[in-house]
């Protein structure tokens, strides 16, 4: 009997503000431990929080990008728990009056995934586990986060990953965060339950702090299967938090203490509720850039890209930035698109990152593509050069000149090579005369070999036809 999988996500995203949420310490990733701390974020008695204007603005900005309603009135609560990375023994968060309500994103299938809310809160510090115990670094304590909570609208691991990728791309576009999953700046809690179609929803299991697309996909797949197996055996289970171990590929129960949900939320009397005027919301809305789904429509309309191509090239901001910036100096939309979706994607897949970073500068890629498009260099040379300039950003024109990589389009030079090939391979030459197109490839291949991959295939064919039909 088949089951339906029900998934909801809670996404935590660190905001790219200059300072922390409630004090003026620097918000900085990768600093020496405990250099960005003050009495406020250390939780010293007698200090008072001072809410960061930009953190509020970024939360609103993120909300507007994904269609949330912005609350006129918003307030902060304390969420209490004890952990060494939390100096105040509470996290300032928003429960009753979040800044953003509702909204959502549309998947490629056309399905709309609803958001419940986006609220502003603060991050905790970091525990550094070592052989001599645990060290606490509070640089991150108080860094502003937004928590984006979906409704339980997702029905498969693939949908969850697609949603998260789309959300990440939207957040990157708004500029409120750099969303680096590898640095823990975008993390995801996943709620999974299973039920038989038509039945009411099953018991929800939460897995916290999943830090990569593959972990999210594997964790959901594993956990859904585990729940189905339990139910098939006639077992029941209680709502709980499980820990995902990405190395084992398994989820494990967490000790009761860690999952106790008694956070004793209450209003933070030190932070005065905020009033968000509609005029302020509108002024933020005006500064929103073109969102990925808007760009996709525009590329289809203005450049005539197919739905698939437009969707793919806008699926990550790194792709669309590269594409649009190459077009600025080399305006061949289809040609550039095919090269990026072919060669550049191949290279990125080989690197296998969650956070796409393309070191190659668009203007350098444009130069390479001009050489390739103008048939100065062959495809094989273009590929090799892409590898070479990927990080170095060396000038492809200079390399081609220095190493004499230009394609041989000189029919005189090719004729000598092909004459010899035809003479050396009489059988193949005979087949070619009979009109067997497969033999073309043989001669092109041999000519490539003889020229070190620099022969222009079109010219090879032209010359070959001339020789054969003489």
């Amino acid at each position: 009997m088949s089951y339906e999988i029900v998934i909801g996500l809670e996404i935590h995203c660190e905001l790219k503000t200059k300072t922390k949420a409630f004090c003026s310490c620097r918000n900085e990733f990768g600093a020496e431990p405990n250099v960005n701390v003050c009495p406020g974020c250390l939780g010293m008695p007698g200090t008072l929080p001072a809410l960061n204007k930009t953190a509020v603005e970024y939360c609103i900005r993120a909300g507007l990008a994904v269609g949330c309603k912005i609350s006129r009135y918003s307030a902060f609560e304390r969420k209490h728990y004890f952990y060494p990375d939390l100096p105040n023994a509470y996290q300032v968060s928003q429960l009753e009056y979040p800044l953003c309500i509702g909204g959502g994103l549309t998947l490629d299938s056309g399905k709309f995934v609803r958001l419940n809310r986006i609220h502003l809160e603060e991050d905790a510090g970091k525990l550094l586990h070592g052989p001599y115990g645990t060290r606490v670094d509070l640089n991150r304590a108080g860094v502003p986060l937004i928590e984006i909570v979906t409704e339980p609208d997702l029905r498969s691991a693939d949908e969850a990953v697609e949603f998260l990728a789309k959300l990440k791309s939207a957040l990157l576009t708004t500029g409120v965060s750099d969303c680096k999953m590898q640095e823990g700046r975008l993390r995801c809690d996943v709620n999974v339950s299973v039920n038989k179609p038509g039945d009411k929803w099953g018991t929800r299991i939460e897995m916290k702090n999943l830090a990569s697309f593959s972990a999210i996909k594997r964790a959901i797949t594993y956990e859904a299967k585990r729940q189905m197996d339990e139910l098939d055996k006639g077992n029941t289970f209680v709502q709980a938090t499980r820990r995902w171990d990405d190395k084992d590929g398994k989820s494990y129960p967490m000790r009761d203490k860690e999952t106790s949900n008694d956070y004793r939320y209450f209003p933070d009397a030190n932070i005065i509720p905020i009033n968000v005027e509609p005029s302020y919301v509108e002024s933020i809305r005006k500064t929103l850039p073109e969102m990925p789904w808007e760009l996709k429509e525009r590329l289809q309309k203005e450049l005539g890209l197919s739905e698939y191509d437009a969707r793919t090239i806008t699926s990550d901001k790194a792709y669309s930035d590269l594409y649009l910036n190459v077009l600025k100096t080399f305006n061949e939309p289809k040609f550039v698109l095919n090269f990026i979706m072919g060669e550049v994607f191949k290279k990125l897949n080989a690197l296998g990152q969650d956070d796409i970073e393309i070191p190659l500068k668009p203007e350098i890629l444009a130069k390479l593509l001009k050489l390739y498009h103008g048939k100065t260099i062959a495809q094989a040379t273009a590929r090799e050069l892409l590898d070479e300039i990927w990080e170095s950003n060396a000038d492809p024109e200079q390399i081609v000149k220095d190493r004499n990589l230009a394609q041989v389009s000189d029919s005189g030079a090719l004729e000598a090579i092909l004459q010899k090939l035809v003479a050396d391979n009489p059988k193949a030459a005979e087949q070619l005369k009979m009109g067997d197109p497969k033999v073309n490839q043989f001669f092109i291949g041999q000519t490539m070999k003889a020229t070190g991959g620099k022969a222009n295939p079109a010219v090879v064919l032209e010359v070959l036809n001339k020789i054969i039909n003489k």
């Binding site: 310490c25 020496e32 405990n34 204007k53 209490h80 586990h129 004793r264 509720p273 905020i274």
Partner: protein, 95 residues
Amino acid sequence: MAVTHDELVKLAKVSGLEFSDKEYTELIQAFKQKTELMEAMNAVDTSGIELRYEPINAEKDLREDVVRPSLPRDTALSGAAEKDSSAFLVPATVE
């Protein structure tokens, strides 16, 4: 609505606090006064009165996002019971 002894014991436990029996008795009294005050306020008929609040303005009244110097690390660590040259030390936490 009064706060019971059992509720206070639970609250003390999750808050990591310990009280004597005498303190519990006093706390129950103190809570009772507060809840009575709230009940008295709840009894006031507020229907038809528009909600008013005096929050601060998100655009004008909040702290500008400008970095100010943090504490020197030695000072930040000076109150810690256990520390090394750059961090606070705590008993090993089990993940």
